[in-house]
Amino acid sequence: MKPTSAPKTPSDPRSVQLTEDGKLRHFLTLGGLNKEILEEILDTADSFVSMGEQSVKKVPLLRGKTVVNLFFENSTRTRSTFELAAKRLSADVLNLDISTSATSKGETLMDTLQNLEAMGSDMFVIRHADSGAQHFIASQISPNVAIINAGDGRHAHPTQAMLDMYTIRKHKGDFAGLKVAIVGDILHSRVARSQIQALNILGAEEVRLIGPKTLLPQPLEQMGASLYTRMEDGLKDVDVVIMLRLQKERMDGALLPSESEFYRLYGLTTEKLSYAKPDAVVMHPGPINRGVEIESAVADGPQSLILNQVSYGIPIRMAVMSMAVSGQTQQKTKEVAANGAADIEQQGEASA
């Protein structure tokens, strides 16, 4: 039967974020993006990495643009790297921590956004506790403001996933043939969801999720990942091990009995790491809980890329921000040209 629905809000987050020519104009999720765009992000980031080593670390790609960091959830590191990324692109940056202030005064999300839009912002970098919040915002405010997702609920954290992909590519060269294990609290993790999508798009051979069933989302078959409940099985022959942060509040919700049992079963120790390939690398989106999900000897060991990840955060965010602004500009130029042509046509008709 033909559905009768005609949704009031533009629907698919995967199409909202692209221009008519398939360029990024927002960056909401990795779902629906193709390999070319992901590789373009990685390549663009590459060009910014070397820049970080120079004495003058700025390029003028976002000069005259206003970037607003809108964090409805607390974050120190992600916000700092977005701020640095925007400044290195020469943008003006406004940091707003609205985790408590605006909402406690009864201001709705829409009120807050419309105010900021009225101030002439060009880009919102948003973190929000509700899945889909950035997509909702992108569908409601002016299309000329680029929205960059800095994490929404359990849904997506695409810049984190891209810096992880950058780290993997840097150290493993190519994704073909790679086996990647993601360990821990997959259920609540937006990072894991974006990583699974990225790894599938970039052609990794296998993505494995390892954890107790209380921390794995249901069902898994369609996510492009296979499921393991034992580290010995899941880590066997993998090239990359990604550990996720375990939130302390998971103990209260009866998802886990104790940190010590979690560590015994799923904590990455030198011994468990030995199940993986000898040249396997270890990653973690941070901040790490030493002795809960990872042993200090592993976190600080030769196979760990945890600090490399942090340093790649800035070039990746510079890449995404500059690509979104360029997509926005191209789209605007195209629309202006189309409107101009229409105007000329109308004038022509009028004079004829």
């Binding site: 899945s131 849904h155 069902p219």
Partner: protein, 424 residues
């Protein structure tokens, strides 16, 4: 007023009537079908050639919003919307503000409804005081002042002993219970059907088992207490199966699903469209198929509207933060006709599930067109094509998911107690 409606296709599933005939009305009641009685001269003749005459539709669980926030709806706006959608009787929900847990609130609603004079309203009272699930409400008093049933809506009664006492007390007065089965712990803060889509979207899921467990617990108490119960807004295949079993065992159980659950699946929420955020959540393709089969077989003898009007701002938020519910009264019949067109139901089946089905479930003497009955009936044009515009809808709700789309089938006339209450 003496009225004759000529030449319509009269469908009255309760009498297994489906024929082109005339209907004559006098002193508010149906006087005769077919030939006019000798000496009957109508003061008004309505022509219904090519149209369908049916009993006025009856709803179980409409939210009328009054008493409560008037920007979401009022008795006046929603009973008018009801008539425009073909409903002549609404059994309204008790979770108003204040809730319907006292005769005073019932009386306030009944008085106002009489004053307005649009669709009839038969309130469903609160089963516990303030819907808190701890103390019994004055059920006998509620029944005496006009409530057709009691319900605790979606407010969980986790204490099974209190639930048993509620059922025992209600059955003392042969008062019906309307129940929305759901295990509140498994629901948690969920807002979508638990499955691959919710996982991908990062939305907290509600497993189908939440409904089955809630239902199973109550069915055992129905067997113990013998209370007459109606399960509303079922959403899963398991629930349909359990209801069929209970009915086969002879338990006094009726049930409904909503039109939204017959039309849509969870696929609608891909893209976080908050217009499709409803409780219980839209579920899988196989659930929808089982619900359709259940409605066809009569296991589900009622299709309900779950009409829940909201102002626009209520939906202007990220999915889980938006308010659940749809405004449906004015579009439901058209969606039902889509089910007829696609072969899911026959037209008489559809009408039965919207008229005599709910009348039986709520013990109302209504929903049929026999001589001597109050003339609550509608005339609709099954072919009329119309575009859904918020500004044209009578409901105060700005949350129809169908805004902008074109539907087929439109109510032309609604009679309540033999008076023309609505004419397009």
């Amino acid at each position: 007023m003496k009225i004759t409606i000529r030449g319509g296709r009269l469908i009255d599933p309760a009498q297994q009537q489906d024929q082109v005939t005339d209907i004559h009305i006098d002193e508010g009641r149906i006087l005769a079908l077919g030939q006019a009685p000798a000496g009957f001269t109508p003061e008004r003749t309505l022509h219904a050639e090519g149209q369908v005459i049916a009993p006025g539709l009856i709803d179980i669980g409409t939210h009328l919003r009054e008493p409560g926030p008037s920007y979401k709806g009022t008795l006046r706006s929603e009973t008018k919307a009801a008539l425009a959608g073909g409903y002549t009787t609404l059994c309204c929900r008790p979770d108003t503000s204040p809730c319907i847990d006292s005769s005073a609130v019932v009386q306030q609603i009944m008085d106002k409804v009489e004053l307005i004079g649009q669709a009839k309203v038969r309130p469903i009272g609160a089963m516990t005081k303030n819907l808190e699930g701890t103390h019994l409400s004055n059920m006998a008093g509620l029944q005496h002042s006009g409530c057709v049933a009691v319900s605790n809506m979606r407010n969980a009664i986790d204490n099974t002993l209190i639930l048993r006492r509620c059922f025992e007390y209600a059955s003392t007065f042969d008062l019906r219970v309307v129940f929305y089965p759901e295990d509140s712990w498994l629901r948690g803060d969920g807002c979508a059907h638990e499955g691959a889509l919710a996982s991908r979207l990062g939305l907290a899921g509600i497993p189908a088992a939440a409904e089955a467990i809630g239902l199973s617990r109550v069915l055992h108490l129905v067997a113990v207490t013998g209370v007459r119960i109606h399960f509303s807004a079922l959403s899963t295949a398991q629930a349909v199966e359990m209801i069929a079993e209970a009915q086969a065992k002879g338990l006094p159980v009726t049930a409904d699903t909503t039109m939204a659950h017959l039309i849509y699946t969870e696929a609608e929420i891909d893209g976080y469209n908050s217009q499709f955020f409803v409780q219980p959540p839209l579920r899988s393709e196989s659930d929808r198929e089982a619900l359709r089969q259940g409605v066809r077989d009569g296991v589900l003898s009622v299709i309900s509207s779950a009409h829940l009007p909201h102002e626009e701002a209520a939906k202007m938020a990220p999915f889980a933060a938006s308010e659940p519910g749809m405004a449906t009264l004015e579009t439901l019949l058209s969606q039902g006709l889509e089910l007829v067109e696609s072969g899911v139901l026959s037209l008489p089946q559809l009408i039965e599930r919207l008229t005599s089905g709910p009348a039986k479930a709520m013990g109302l003497n209504a929903g049929q067109l026999t001589e001597g009955q109050w003339a609550d009936l509608i005339v609709f044009d099954p072919e009329a094509s119309w575009q859904v515009k918020d500004s044209d809808l009578f409901t105060a709700g700005e949350n129809s998911p169908l805004t902008g789309s074109t539907l087929k089938g439109q109510v032309q006339i609604a009679l309540v107690n033999g008076q023309i209450a609505f004419e397009r």
